[in-house]
Symmetry: C2
Subunit: 124 residues, 2 copies
Amino acid sequence: MSVDFNTVATEFCNFYYQQFDSDRTQLGNLYRDQSMLTFETSQLQGAKDIVEKLASLPFQKVAHRISTLDAQPASPSGDILVMVTGELLIDEEQNAQRYSQVFHLIPDGSSYYVFNDIFRLNYS
Amino acid sequence: MSVDFNTVATEFCNFYYQQFDSDRTQLGNLYRDQSMLTFETSQLQGAKDIVEKLASLPFQKVAHRISTLDAQPASPSGDILVMVTGELLIDEEQNAQRYSQVFHLIPDGSSYYVFNDIFRLNYS
């Protein structure tokens, strides 16, 4: 039986942000060679370059808080699209920054990998 | 020759918001029976239900302003994923509301239709 796409999307995002906030150098397993990341104005392709980019971000402590999470099936073969809006707390800053992020997840055996990943801070 | 995905994404979003802001009852051509819309907490499927939802939104005048637009190829067959962050000005309100929106566009002959559409206001 296939798992509900909302459950997959929620569990994926919870795992992703927990891993990002505890040790983002370990996120490589969630990407493949063909995966793409747009992080603000930077564009990366491939698990290795994507993780190098994430690891190089200029902060030590980081915490993501999800505000909204919406998922939809994105293909007949089980792809899932997720859009997250949330807040990011960096190092000792008092004020959270709002962000928006989209993940396109592709099934891979009993798991999923990230094919598309677009991240933007919401400037106000 | 295929058109660059960034160009397609930009032209699509410009057309979409221009049409939305001038007469959103005419957006049906951009959706198909299998298309999905998540608009805040509402979930709709199919061009007819989607356009009815958009037409029923409780405002007369509306203007979208794009702040950021990021696109990626989403499949070998030419699908495109676009994430927009922007501002929405409604009726006579003085303050714009920030929003995030994602479109998954699928090629259809020389054009594209919207397969996935997720829209959220960014509450602060």
